[in-house]
């Protein structure tokens, strides 16, 4: 497929699944780090070695009859900075891969649930995503691809240290499992710091979805394992599963308490957020993220009806700078982006929220004197 096909959709098809966890868990991601024996890691290799690694990987994928999905290949250097940014915003590539000037490429499955990054920090990063809380499903997919590729590629592996990786924090299984969660009630009631501290002691990390330093943006957190050696894949997945379940329980409990003790205040908060999103003319990404989080909470608690969680997911992705500029078809300075963001969110949420808008875009003209 052409790169445009991947840039058009704000949310891929696999995201539109709803289950018992959809009120809290947004998505699940599994990543396997692999390297080819006999080649230096991307940190130290030559361009020629990079090319050889890339050819070996792309051939292995093209030649495999067992990979049912169709994969499209893109070299990072051939993509514009805006295209790279959109792929990062969709979590299809890492910011680190997007920055590569000479080497680095991506193989994307048509449904976008699998992306194979080549020559990022490691030669191969197999990333599989699933909607909501589906660790096993995402892992099975990643494991299947790994099993197929290992037949064609000489993965660097030692009995003692397992799969060898550039950074010792990925050694062993090379497995990173992440669950992306929306935790507004735990944040509002000031329990997140305590949870983050407890997670660290359990060998897990909690980060914001937009990477370091974005911990609170939109109350969305990513819980993932830190330990990759000395545990089996099943142990790692079971640990994340049980920790995430506990957090879900805590978040539900906190939501219940908020509804019990302060329903009116909560209702006021979520409707004010909806008001801002459907009427504001200028929205920074911080304000938009906060408002979307509050509206999502309102939808999950059934205080707001008529807005789908999938619409909100779409808004979260498409309100980011890369997407906004892609839709505008132009490079926008920050102030212009804030205007475009407000317009995009108004359009997305207004129609869904109100069948008969009280003040519509066209109606505004009639107030002119």
């Amino acid at each position: 497929m052409m790169i445009e096909s991947f840039l058009e959709r704000a949310t891929p098809i696999w995201m539109s699944v709803e289950d018992d966890y959809s009120d809290i868990v947004i998505s699940t991601r599994i990543r396997l780090a692999r390297n080819l024996d006999g080649y230096r890691f991307p940190l130290a290799f030559t361009e020629n070695e990079a090319l050889q690694v890339e050819q070996a990987v792309t051939h292995a994928i093209k030649d495999s009859t067992k990979l049912q999905e169709n994969y499209s290949y893109f070299a990072i250097k051939d993509l514009t900075s805006l295209q790279r940014q959109i792929l990062v915003e969709k979590h299809l590539i890492s910011p680190q891969l997007a920055k590569k000037e000479l080497v680095g490429s991506i193989l994307l499955s048509d449904d976008e649930s699998t992306s194979i990054m080549v020559n990022e920090e490691d030669h191969l990063r197999i990333q599989c995503m699933a909607a909501s809380f589906q660790l096993q499903k995402a892992y099975e997919q990643a494991n299947k691809i790994d099993r197929i590729l290992e037949k064609a590629l000489p993965f660097a592996f030692r009995d003692t240290f397992g799969y060898l990786t550039s950074c010792p924090t990925n050694i062993g299984t090379g497995l990173r499992a992440s669950v992306m969660m929306h935790l507004p009630a735990l944040t509002l009631t000031g329990q997140m710091n305590q949870i983050i501290n407890a997670m660290t002691r359990l060998g897990m990390t909690v980060r914001g979805i937009y990477g370091e330093g974005s911990e609170n943006l939109g109350n969305v957190y990513q819980v993932s394992n830190q330990i990759t050696l000395g545990k089996t894949e099943d142990d790692i997945l079971a640990d994340i599963q049980s920790v995430a379940e506990k957090i879900i329980q805590k978040e539900r409990h906190a939501r219940g308490k908020l509804m019990e003790k302060a329903e009116l205040a909560l209702e006021d908060r979520v409707y004010r957020a909806l008001g801002t999103l459907t009427h504001a003319r200028i929205l920074t990404s911080e304000e938009a993220a906060t408002c979307l989080s509050n509206v999502r909470l309102g939808v999950d608690l059934q205080l707001i009806k008529g807005i789908k969680a999938t619409t909100l997911n779409e808004c979260v992705v498409s309100m980011q700078p890369g997407f906004l500029q892609h839709y505008a078809g132009d490079v926008l300075p920050p102030a212009e982006r804030d205007r475009a963001r407000a317009e995009m969110l108004r359009e997305a949420l207004f129609q869904e929220n109100m069948s008969k808008p009280i003040i519509g875009e066209k109606g505004e003209g009639s107030f002119d004197v």
Binding site: N35, R40, R158, C167, P168, G203, T228, G230
Partner: protein
């Protein structure tokens, strides 16, 4: 004890400073302690990077660096990875290895490192398919050798001979799978 600074509240925090090689202790209450510069500086620091962590654990603290430097001159040259030319010092600086062979070159340092940053020094997870066959056979051979030793110790030579043949058979199979027999 009363806080040295406000001279009002009880001192609950002891701050030890090293001034011109001598230890000096200060006693403050938690309110005053939290206002002092060294604490703020600590809180404001960026999250510790993996490189810093590694250097802190395996490098030497700055006050020891001179001594270590002197020692190193007397010691043989540090190991260098034959494939990528990385030294262990370089690994500590980068926080990353240069190539898969680095793991073989620096293998003696690694268990200590993995004990600290991982759940242990030994991989117990999945292995590549072919490798997993090799691993299973190696385990079987190890097991047979143990049983052979017991049989010899107990002077059951016939059984020991039978086990030796079994082990030889497995070693052939191992060579066929591409594993080393050692």
């Amino acid at each position: 004890m009363i806080c040295e600074h406000c001279k009002q509240r009880n001192a609950t925090v002891t701050v030890t400073q090293v001034q011109s090689g001598q230890k000096v202790e200060h006693h403050y209450c938690d309110v005053c302690a939290s206002q002092f510069h060294p604490f703020h500086a600590e809180f404001k620091q960026e999250p510790v990077s993996i490189q810093q962590l590694l250097s802190n654990w395996f490098g030497s603290p700055s006050w020891q660096q001179q001594k270590v430097g002197e020692k190193q001159q007397a010691q043989p040259q540090p190991q260098t990875c034959p494939q990528c030319g990385f030294t262990y010092k370089q690994f500590l600086k980068e926080g990353k290895f240069g190539c898969p062979s680095c793991y073989d070159t620096f293998s003696e340092h690694l268990p200590k490192l993995f004990n600290r940053i991982q759940a242990g020094p030994q991989h117990i997870g999945k292995m590549p398919g072919a490798r997993s066959n090799v691993y299973v056979i190696k385990k079987q051979i190890e097991d047979i050798r143990k049983r052979m030793k017991v049989a010899v110790d107990e002077e059951h030579f016939e059984e020991a001979a039978k086990l030796r043949d079994e082990a030889k058979e497995l070693e052939k199979q191992l060579q066929f799978e591409g594993g080393d027999v050692s």
